[in-house]
Point group: none
Chain length 114, copies 2
DNA sequence: CCCTAACTTAACCAACAGGTTAATTAACCT
DNA sequence: AGGTTAATTAACCTGTTGGTTAAGTTAGGG
């Protein structure tokens, strides 16, 4: 629910928002600039909402510049989610090890491949 | 909506499901074994649903063993999401660095790990 | 052959997500 | 002051999520 990690993953679970993050990884952008590629598919308020989700997830910050709001990536926001996934690096390795052992046993016994 | 990455992140955006993954990182478990810590807070059908979400997200596999269903982590399922987050490695340098090297070694050729 | 164990499916419900249009705020420009 | 630009807030609608209970399936055991 309102725990940080859930909010972060929920924010990432939308292609529009991921595209916005990708845009921001190229540098600061105003709301209109971020919105531009999406305005054929959705309205400006929808974009505002997406940005708010990213903000509450801690992935984006907004600063005021006259009428415009400038958005930036907030790198710390990614940390927790990266660390969670890192937990499964071990699992990946182990499964690969098992595969390696299996392949070895197969080649040693000269069995036909499944 | 139904793109793989969105489904994976959506699956991860729930503390119950993340706890289930953590449980599975300790090894194979049946549905009842996975359910056990949650049965004070929710019913068994709710657990079944969560597992189905994890399955459709490609993070978990189920195999039949008599009446029981045995669940396992599906390490490849994490790959795409890890790769997306790697795009933001400047955000979280050290933690992703080792993972990046690992993924490269896996995808480029099947060499044994260091 | 029924009984129980281990799950899943069905039908339903409240809450929330993602979108809309219309109205509102805020800052700048003559 | 009034108008324009930039963005947000409000009110609403619809589909999905996460939970429920009750009924259904499937395999093994006495």
């Amino acid at each position: 629910m309102p725990d940080q990690l859930s909010q972060t993953f929920a924010a990432l679970a939308d292609p529009t928002r991921r595209a916005m993050l990708t845009r921001l990884s190229a540098g600061t952008a105003s709301v209109s600039e971020i919105a531009e590629p999406f305005l054929k598919q959705m309205s400006l308020p929808a974009v505002t909402k997406h940005l708010k989700v990213l903000e509450r997830a801690g992935l984006v910050t907004k600063t005021r510049d006259a009428q415009r709001r400038l958005c930036d990536l907030k790198p710390e926001g990614f940390k927790e989610s990266v660390e969670f996934l890192e937990q499964y690096r071990q699992a990946c390795e182990e499964s690969l090890d098992r595969l390696g052992v299996y392949l070895e046993s197969v080649t040693k016994q000269n069995k036909p491949l499944p």
